[in-house]
């Protein structure tokens, strides 16, 4: 499978601040199709763009040139949860799915001319997995490899780690992907998300089929929490399967409400990464 097959389209609402030429609307003047205004030839010495009609009607009798708005590139940041729970997965681990996403993102961003940076956290910011934003063809592969190589350990994910990451990107513009399974206490998540008010934040909720859907057959099930190590033993039957599904649904509602309050909309990755679905998400929900 080539990276091209996983490409997804994204866009950013409004006008961005980027100066590098790219694909998004921005305030920068430069080569572009959208008319921005007139400027004195003295200020923009580009005689090819002299607007005769405007010059003639100029009050000061100056030569005026047309200026246009340049489309700019943005900086994309990916914040990835690499806690022990993200290493879980019945067939492929959730981090493998995240790596697929990063590959696709790298390819898509390269096509749009945007740069991508990676930040990872578990219970704290992971300095060793940090990749500053850069643009280039292989950036997706590099990020995927970094995430795949992260060790399993039993470090718990926490809001503290997420908060440390967000503190580093708050205030800058652009697009942020928050990739996590959100398997930690959500108290205070709203406060943390508020710091990202001026960015477009896409929360990617990564869950595995095995954790949201109970096994079809009943029986004795003994599970160990990947992070806390607590053990729970169940005699799996219809009643418990229903309770299990109820709890997943409740968590979904809880997360949905939290993100909605911060004007975000979560995108669920359950099982495998579907680039087309993500394109659809941007088309439908990002105006």
């Amino acid at each position: 499978m080539t990276a091209g097959m996983h490409e997804f389209l994204y866009k950013i609402p409004g006008i961005t601040d980027g100066y590098r030429p790219g694909a998004h609307r921005s305030r920068s003047r430069g080569a572009g199709m959208a008319f921005a205004g007139h400027a004195r030839l003295f200020d923009y010495p580009d005689p090819r763009r002299i607007d005769l009609h405007a010059s003639l009607s100029s009050l000061h009798g100056e030569w005026l040139v047309r200026t246009s708005q340049q489309r700019s590139a943005v900086v994309i940041k990916v914040v990835v949860d690499v806690s022990a729970s993200m290493h879980f997965g019945a067939s492929t681990s959730k981090l493998e799915v995240v790596a697929d996403f990063l590959l696709a993102l790298g390819y898509s961003a390269h096509r749009a001319g945007d740069s991508v940076g990676l930040m990872a956290f578990d219970h704290e910011f992971r300095e060793d997995l940090y990749m500053p934003a850069r643009s280039g063809r292989g950036i997706g592969n590099a990020m995927a490899a970094t995430v795949r190589a992260s060790t399993a350990g039993n470090a718990p994910g926490s809001l503290q780690g997420l908060s440390e990451c967000i503190d580093r990107i708050a205030g800058s513009g652009g697009l942020v992907f928050l990739v996590s399974d959100f398997h930690y206490s959500l108290d205070g998540l709203a406060t943390v998300l508020d710091k990202l008010g001026d960015l477009l934040v896409v929360p990617l909720v990564v869950w595995d089929k095995a954790e949201i859907e109970p096994p079809a057959e009943g029986g004795l099930l003994s599970v160990r929490d990947a992070e806390s190590g607590r053990i729970r033993r169940l005699w799996l039957r219809d009643e418990l399967q229903r309770q299990w599904r109820d709890k997943v649904a409740r968590r979904r509602d809880e997360l949905g409400a939290l993100f909605a309050a911060s004007d975000m909309r979560s995108f669920y990755i359950e099982g495998g990464f579907d680039a087309e679905a993500l394109s659809k998400y941007f088309l439908e929900h990002v105006v």
Partner: protein, 332 residues
């Protein structure tokens, strides 16, 4: 009853190993990202506790079994009543031969062919069934006496010895004198509590030398033993000893023996084995003699409980296997 003890008590030092199932192993549980999603389940907890308990019991039973618990060999007091009968049975090769019978008369069914040994065992089994409260001993003889069972009121023991005499073939030689002496010596050192009898079962006679005759005579008299000779006729031509007097011609071995016995001071009767009425008469006769209660000790061999322990451990294992079969090995 003696207390339970262990043949290899050192192995009990391994008993703390029975606590091993209390340890948690990573292999026993599947990893899960967010345990908050799983409801608490008292049934699951209970099943796990049961599993731990049964696994501990299994290990405990195995270690106990290896230490071989049991009740040591002991002697128990028994009170018996009735006559003491020592069965002295011929186990020479001639006893394996079939009994030859008269040709059937006109209109009569031919009698089934039967080996002498079979006939005797049938008769003696019947005797044992009739008198379960008597104490019996069993001695076989051919070239040498074989003490099979000492005096006991355990009829099953004697019966088992009797059944075992059916196996294999006997030796050609017969040394009745040694057999008789062995049976007589069996009474030595026992207090006289009831009438004593030797039941000599044989199909032939024996020439006994004078020395042996004297010893047999003295032995029977000293121990006050009555002698009952159950004679098996090999063929219609064998002499009918019940009809032979004490002054008969002693050129035949059987007759010579019969005459010797008959001339002893001790009580003596001869019976034909194929004649149940005469056997019954013999029993009644023995019974009429004095019967005193007798206290004697019986040796009870060590009772081993390790087998029971292993069976218990095995059933525990089966339960554990059943429980494990219901365990889910993977999610989704």
């Amino acid at each position: 009853m003696p207390p339970v003890d262990f043949a290899i008590p050192q192995l009990l030092a391994l008993l703390p190993m029975a606590l091993l199932p209390l340890l948690r192993r990573r292999r026993d549980s599947l990893p899960f990202p967010w345990i908050g999603w799983l409801p608490r389940d008292p049934v699951g907890r209970l099943l796990h506790l049961t599993w731990q308990l049964i696994a501990m019991l299994t290990l405990g039973f195995i270690i106990l079994g290896l230490a071989m618990p049991g009740r040591s060999e002991t002697r128990i007091e028994r009170i018996g009543r009735g006559a003491e009968i020592s069965i002295l049975m011929d186990r020479s090769s001639s006893m394996d031969a079939t009994i030859r019978r008269n040709a059937p008369k006109l209109g009569e069914q031919a009698q089934p062919s039967q080996s002498k040994n079979d006939a005797v065992r049938k008769t003696l089994s019947w005797l044992l069934d009739q008198r379960p409260q008597n104490r019996f001993a069993l001695t076989l003889f051919n070239t040498a006496p074989i003490r099979v069972a000492p005096f006991s009121d355990d009829v099953a023991l004697v019966q088992a010895g009797l059944n075992a005499s059916d196996i294999g073939r006997g030796s050609n030689e017969t040394n009745m004198g040694l057999g008789l002496m062995a049976a007589i010596d069996g009474f030595n050192g026992r207090s006289y509590t009831g009438s004593r009898a030797i039941l000599l079962v044989s199909d032939g006679g024996a020439r006994l030398d004078d020395d042996l005759r004297l010893r047999i005579q003295r032995g029977l008299k000293r121990n006050r033993i009555s002698l009952y000779f159950i004679y098996i006729q090999s063929s219609p031509n064998s002499p009918n000893l019940e009809l032979v007097g004490t002054d008969a011609d002693a050129s035949l071995e059987e007759v010579a023996l019969h005459v010797f016995f008959a001339n002893l001071d001790s009580e003596y009767r001869v019976f034909q084995a194929d004649d149940p009425e005469s056997m019954a008469a013999a029993i009644v006769e023995i019974d009429q003699l004095q019967n005193l209660p007798l206290t004697y000790y019986e040796r009870v061999p060590r009772v081993d409980y390790s087998r029971a322990c292993f069976i218990a451990a095995l059933s525990c294992c089966i339960f554990l296997a059943g429980l494990t079969a219901t365990r889910l090995e993977r999610l989704a």
